[in-house]
Symmetry: C2
Subunit: 280 residues, 2 copies
């Protein structure tokens, strides 16, 4: 990565992390300053784990997990290690998302509030289910060593697309959640009277959107991709040449599916990398 | 585009259009069956133009405008004509979005409801402002003939990224709007009692998300891109070869910026095309 390009990346990464931390700070200030704090008692303080864990895990940690292959200083680490970090961060995000769901279901049941009636809950649950599927399929396809190369390559565009779509959907769900919560919680002054809490939490919503925007920008710039194992051997005056960028298109993939799976196996890494490259 | 690939594209296009039409049908059924219909009287029937025009214009027509370069049967049309269609559809979407805003501001003012207090309104207005900027910049850069090639090329990744980000943001805003509206409108039975209207409109929310997902899938598949003018001259047994795919990366762009602008001007089309290609 050329120096100029590297600086741009760093700018977006730092902005993204700062905005992510600021979002977490905002949600914590919110629950402690204006709401009932945090507890596990069936009351509103238990509900509060829902926004706190969602913003921390399902948004911030998921965002970092998505971006982790693009950190240039990790390019000397093995691909396998980076896969473990990627999968590990997503697993942490998943666990926090599940706890955040337990908190809200528990709160609803304790207070006899119906579950799963709002669009927020529908799309949020869909997001969690798809995230689970993404995680399980990702582990089976990219970390289970017996998965043939052509499956890894064929699935990569879907893995990247659905990862980003789920990330966007989770952010949209958070925005709906904020909307619901402010209409419920703010009475006298109501949401429509724009008390400081309303402005503060609307700002949290904006921060989350900007965080999502920076993550998606970072992971869709072709020149910020982790170089493929092969390409990284062709270095010219500090720039990593992208000679393998173009190697995989659907035609070469079609050829791969016609090979015996043992042949395809040998080409595992290359195809998989190229599949990733062909996606963005 | 190979036949198999073409069939996949067609499947997504038809699905997308059907789901788009279904969304428009849903919003119309909603306002006529459960709500106050449509009128321009300062009342709820005027408000109803807001969801109807948003779903029709700002979501469906915007989605089609985004996808229009990818329709294979338009590849024999000139790039300039396709640009006019792309810009024209976005302009229609913009006009409908503005009318939908006028409807809701007019309704609020008539009923003395404050404007711009909710997260829906903040992010929605941000979406409209960014959409306006995107439209004006797009016209100046890609349709104003004097714009130098290197500006067109440099701006293309941003144009594509911000176009898709705005599209996603508009969809998220619609989901927040549905959330707000159902909490306001449903009393006895309330939203939490899941009356048929609530289930119907939650379903509309899901349809909108699926519509957005299919549009984003179609415009991010590299093999479904409109071939560049140059590449399309290299045809081999019915498949358009993608030899120019790799021609523009940041290096070649850097070179272009160092040329005199008159030289760059001659390379206008090629660079611009390649800029588009390097984005996805």
């Amino acid at each position: 990565m050329a120096m100029e390009n590297y600086r741009h990346f760093l700018f977006f990464l730092i902005t993204s992390i700062l905005i992510g931390f600021l979002s977490i700070l905002f949600v914590l200030i919110w629950v402690f300053q204006w709401r009932e704090g945090l507890a596990w008692d069936g009351g509103l303080a238990e509900f509060n784990w829902h926004p706190v864990l969602t913003v921390t895990g399902f948004i911030f940690i998921q965002g970092i997990a998505i971006v982790v292959y693009r950190l240039p200083w990790t390019w000397k680490c093995s691909k396998l290690m980076m896969k473990f970090i990627h999968a590990g961060l997503h697993t942490v995000a998943f666990v926090l998302a599940v706890i955040s769901l337990v908190a809200v279901f528990d709160f609803h049941n304790y207070k006899s509030i119906p579950n799963m009636y709002s669009l927020h809950s529908w799309i949020g649950l869909m997001g969690v289910v798809l995230y689970t599927l993404q995680l399980v399929l990702g582990l089976c396809i990219y970390l289970f060593p017996m998965t043939p190369a052509f499956i890894r390559a064929a699935f990569m565009p879907i893995h990247v697309y659905s990862g980003l779509l789920i990330f966007g959907t989770v952010i949209a769900t958070a925005l709906m959640g904020i909307t619901e919560k402010l209409f419920f919680a703010l009475k006298n002054p109501a949401y429509k009277d724009s008390p400081p809490e309303a402005v503060f939490i609307n700002t949290l919503g904006l921060l989350i959107v900007v965080f999502g925007g920076t993550v998606i920008w970072m992971v869709t710039r072709p020149s910020w991709k982790r170089p493929s194992e092969e390409a990284s051997t062709f270095k010219q005056d500090g720039k990593v040449s992208s000679v393998t960028e173009n190697e995989l298109n659907l035609n070469s993939f079609d050829k791969a599916t016609m090979e015996s799976s043992s042949e395809a196996w040998k080409r595992n890494l290359k195809l998989e990398e190229a599949g990733l490259r062909s996606t963005m």
